[in-house]
Symmetry: C2
Subunit: 286 residues, 2 copies
């Protein structure tokens, strides 16, 4: 969404002035002129930041309320959950015993990545920006170690927490946290470049140390991905995560802000890490 | 070799003061106390910068003189050739029609990468540091375009030469040339980080723009590798390249400096791009 708010090329076109801001939403059909959807059905899609939306139906997907509460269709059972599931399992090729580092570990994607990694027997270190978030990922989600990137020397903390080196880095933030990881790679490490939120608000590219040589030294792979490339398999990920939640093996945290008028401020706050869990805007009651 | 000349961690241990500098060499057995090798046989191995070497035989490989002149066992049929063959075919996953960019394109590795890419039907752009080298890769080796990184705006030249974006980047240099490539990627691009010679002589890491976000936008992969990881298949690469040379489909260029006393100056010159083709030191006649 941040990329769509500026006039520069990205994987998605920019939102033009006067247009509705693009964003995922879940809601109930209140009127229908297509036989594909009936009034009362729950659908999710990129409907934008608005209380009511018109769609030709092609971008919608039916939400199965049996899988979980409706807001999960935008979070752990929606785009962020699928990003975590496929970005971790398909891009990072984890094996049990791997040392896994997740940045923005309490965020919508990071919290899911870390829990999948724990389910499959990895050793998991998360970075986050407050003691409250660190406590949550360690005590509630079962991460092995939490590092507060605002108060700790991340490179030293990683070296100490990961004596065998880092096999997998699931990167949501970029910037200095990623630099610190690059200095602590294990051989044949895999890095998935999911997001670079530390960079999204910069007018000009930030400078950082040239450190791609570490990829050669450690025969390591760094790969960017978009959740859309796994679209044909999203249902697999959704069913799997829903089952883990039902079995009590996975938790999730949502940060719900009431009222669409508060969406811009909440969005800006998220850029600064002020949210805690998947940020949602509640625009009406069910 | 440059990494072994400094007291910092790399994939290989540093050479200590007073030790023989490590380096590949080809030569003839003049004395033998092992039944594994007989006097007169030609062998290649990491025998160091010296005119005579003692080996227990474990690091040696027999050279088949029928495959090509002996110096090729250190170049196109040796480590650089295998680096090109596996680094391109196995790490970059090329398909016919791909737009391929090779940096240090007239060097020991780059010249082989570009020619394999042409053999398999790719469109190939090379970067090099002199008009003589550009003429060579285009007129002799069949590259489609050559870009002189010392005199041209590389980002603009790449954008013009690669209107569909860059599918594959075989990187030998790093630094600003790589920055320019990262701004011109095609979706699902593959980058093999083979060498970063622009960085090897820096005492401190150079700063550059943080541009890994391009990997996400283009769902692109950047992967470091070492030729050793393909050791079990080197013979495959050697036989294949030797056949291409015999069939006239592949050429190679060597830059031979006479006398071991000239090795240090030649090595320093190579760091500045003064060699033209695979740099070899001739220490004696056959």
């Amino acid at each position: 969404m941040r990329g769509r708010m500026r006039d520069a090329a990205s994987y998605a076109p920019s939102v033009q002035l006067g247009e509705v801001m693009v964003g995922g939403a879940v809601g109930r059909i209140t009127e229908s002129r297509t036989p594909a959807y009936s009034i009362g059905e729950i659908v999710e899609g990129r409907l934008g930041w608005q209380e009511y939306a018109v769609s030709d139906g092609r971008d919608l997907r039916r939400v199965d309320p049996a899988l979980g509460p409706l807001p999960t269709s935008l979070g752990i059972l929606g785009m962020p959950g699928m990003t975590a599931y496929f970005g971790f399992l398909d891009v990072c090729n984890p094996t049990p015993g791997d040392t896994v580092v997740v940045s923005a570990a309490s965020g919508a994607v990071g919290q899911v990545v870390g829990q999948i990694a724990k389910i499959m027997g990895c050793y998991v270190v998360g970075t986050a920006g407050s003691q409250e978030k660190i406590d949550y990922i360690v005590n509630e989600l079962g991460f092995d170690v939490g590092i507060n990137y605002k108060t700790e020397n991340v490179a030293e903390a990683l070296a100490s927490a990961c004596p065998l080196g880092i096999d997998i880095y699931f990167d949501n933030v970029g910037g200095p946290v990623s630099d610190a990881v690059l200095e602590n790679l294990a051989d044949f490490a895999r890095i998935s470049v999911c997001g670079q939120i530390s960079q999204y608000n910069l007018a000009e590219p930030e400078m950082g140390p040239r450190n791609t040589r570490n990829l050669t030294t450690h025969q390591a792979r760094m790969e960017g991905f978009l959740v859309f490339q796994f679209a044909s398999r999203h249902e697999e990920g959704r069913q799997r995560i829903a089952r883990w939640i039902k079995e009590g093996k996975m938790k999730y945290k949502e940060d719900v802000v009431e009222g669409i008028e508060n969406a811009p401020a909440a969005f800006i706050g998220m850029m600064n890490g002020e949210n805690f869990g998947k940020l949602l805007i509640k625009v009406s009651d069910e």
